[in-house]
Structure formats: C-alpha cells, structure tokens
Symmetry: C2
Subunit: 195 residues, 2 copies
DNA sequence: CGATTCTTTGAAAACAGTCAATCTGTGTGG
DNA sequence: CCACACAGATTGACTGTTTTCAAAGAATCG
C-alpha cells in the first residue's frame, strides 16, 4: 500500500530517499472491510489516513437517527476527523468503509514529528490544506445557492471517480436533499441527456 | 489600529518585542467607509486583513444578480480571499464594508516572510486555520441538516456580536434561506420567547 | 437464491420561495 | 429641521418545490 502513497507524494513534492524512508518508518498500513467502522462517535481519532484503495465515508448521526454525510474519501485522498485528531478529543463523527479499503496512516505525534523534520512535507501539507479550504468554500457556496439539479451536477463534476460508487441516498445526504428528490433529479437529467 | 492587533496576538501567542516590531514594520493600516469595496470581483486580493474595528462582508454575485454571503468579519477576525491571496489570481468574490471599518493588513509576500522568520507566528496561523476548518465544517453540517429555525439559532450562537449589526437579508443569504422566510422565523421565535 | 439494501414511483402534505404591497427607520440634501 | 428617498423589514396570498409517507421494484451481497 505504501507504494501507492509513495507514487502520489512524489508527484506532489520532492522528497529525498531518507525523508521518504522516515515517513514510511512511522506509517501504519491498515485494511478495512466494507461496512467496517474506522472511527466511532465518542472515540478519539488516532490517525490521519491516506486512502490507497477503496472508499470511506465520514458522517454525523443525529439523535433521530438521520445521517448527514460530511465527506467521501477514495483513492489518493486524505481523511481524518480534524478536530479529534488535532486535539485528541472525542469525535462527533464516524468514519466507515463503503468498500473494502486500504489505507496508510500516521498518528498525530508521528505526523507532527514528520512535519517538524521535513520542511518539504510540511509545505506540501500546507498546500493541501489550502486546497481543502477552497473545496469546502465551494461546497458552502453550493449549499446556500444551488438548486438540487445544480448540486448534483456539481457533485458529478467534483467527484467524477466517486459518484458512481456511492449509493444515491448517501449523495443526497451529502448534498442536503432527500433521496427521493435526488432520484427524480437524476431521472430528469438522464432523460434530458438522451432526448 | 495596530494596538488592537497587538493585544489580540499577544493573547494568542508569545512573541518577542523584536518579532512584533517586525510584524508591525510590514503591516499596512487601512480605513474603509461603509459600503466601500475592499476587493472587487476580478481583482487580485493583495492583502490578508485583520479587522480592528467595523464589519466586513465577503460575497459572491451570480449572473442573475443574486448575492450569496460567504462570510462576515468583525473586530478581531481575519479575512481574505484565500485562493486569490495565495495564488495571486483574480478573485471570484467581493469584500465590502458594512460599517466604517479599520484593518491592519499584510501582502502575501510580507506575510510569507513573517511566517518564515517567526515560528511562533507560523504556528499561531496553523492553529487559526485549524479553527477555521472546524468552523466551516460546522457550517456545512448546518447547511445540509438544519431547519431554517435551527440555522438562525446557530447563527446567533456562533456570532453573538455580529447578528445584531447585520441586515436580516444578509443573514438570510449567509444561511441559504430567503429573507422572507428568515423574517418569519425570527418573528415566531420572538413570540415564543415572550409567551 | 434469500435477505438486505437501495432505488424508484405516486400521491399528499408541508414547506419555503416568490411576488407584491406596505411599513419602518435612517440618513441625506434642500 | 423637515421632507424625501432609500434601504431594510414585514405581511399576505399564491405558487412551486421538496419532503414525507408508503409501497413496490431493482440490485446486490453473503
């Protein structure tokens, strides 16, 4: 699995063999089965995960049982519960595997050590966070100003590799519309694409 | 104005007199009138702003003239167009003063220089970004799972110092509901509070 | 297969959005 | 200082959309 990460990170930044070796030494490889929980509500998030294979879902479950999907993470994407990971506090979200999934991950302390000792890696992470910030701003704008049709189109455009692999009702939850509405939206768009 | 920033930053992190002096040396103080544009769509965002007095609004105007408010920034809050500032690309958003406003600000290059030479300042900014990330995740969750009533309550709880100073229709835009709906929501809540 | 999960569909209800008109307060200029 | 203009808020009636509920149909996994 680490090889996938290695390929990815080499494309993003220039690391020496020693630096990469250090990152590898502190990494942990883990596998999860479909439906397996990576993180449960109330637990402290111990790892920052890099997905090398499969698909993860981060979500919040309300008291009434309603689920809100915060995030999907497929190959070559990072995921973690930022708050819980950074401050080692109980998580309010859960992370679950939607497919059999393989990840490479690091604990907070190991991550800190790596970032402190490898400037190029730190600066890559800084750029990554810039990107995340841009993405989430885009998502907010979509949330407050798009119609359901536009939201679904944006989702397809933003996650071309993911949208076919995720059950529609989870996409609906991610977008903040009901599954029935999204089903109808998609149906209408399919008809339009044909006609 | 710098004094306000100084008080703020000293409470957040420990800086030496020299470091603070350096930060001051590169800072620019600016004042804006109510309704004045700080940043226009298409312009490159030259500054990262720290508000010492007043209130700013960041928003996006769609082709049909509809405005979506992305963010408010009052005293002791930072604001900038992250994408435009970081990569010096044209901004898709505008920033406007809702009140007469005073800010302390820094250009990207000066900010970079400061962060590179003052580790404590860099680490403060890193923590700040952690906070922003948490805030915006909270906002997304609110967007996709709260009712208009809950959104308004959350806004009041999140911005107790701001909500009274902002026209209701801008709050509505920020929350992604129509101004009429928010007006009715607020009315109902006032009645409830009395009864 | 057999059971679960997921999707679709229809009909009804609830809801928020739109439109239009009015009301309020504020600030500006004569 | 007044009057007028303007930005903002409210209200009612209406429209349109989305949610909800319920049931049936498809797909998928074990």
């Amino acid at each position: 699995m680490f090889e996938v990460f290695e390929t990815y990170i080499q494309a993003k930044t220039r690391l020496t063999a020693d630096e990469l070796q250090l990152i590898r030494a502190l990494s942990v490889e883990r596998k999860f089965r479909r439906r397996e929980l990576i993180l449960q509500e109330g637990e402290v998030c111990q790892f920052k995960l890099f997905v090398t294979k499969g698909l993860l879902k981060t979500s919040v479950i309300k008291d009434d049982g309603t689920e809100s999907v915060m995030r999907f993470a497929a190959e070559n994407m990072w995921t973690t519960e930022h708050q819980s990971f950074t401050y080692q506090t109980p998580s309010t979200v859960r992370i679950e595997a939607l497919e059999d999934t393989e990840v490479v991950c690091w604990t907070r302390d190991d991550m800190r050590a790596l970032l402190a000792s490898i400037p190029a890696y730190k600066s890559y992470i800084d750029r990554l966070i810039d990107t995340i910030l841009g993405d989430v701003h885009h998502r907010v704008l979509m949330n407050i100003s798009y119609t359901p049709e536009e939201k679904y189109q944006a989702f397809i455009a933003d996650f071309p590799d993911i949208f076919r692999r995720v059950p529609l009702h989870l996409v609906a939850s991610y977008l903040g519309v009901s599954r029935e509405t999204l089903s109808r939206v998609r149906h209408a768009q399919l008809r339009q694409a044909k006609g």
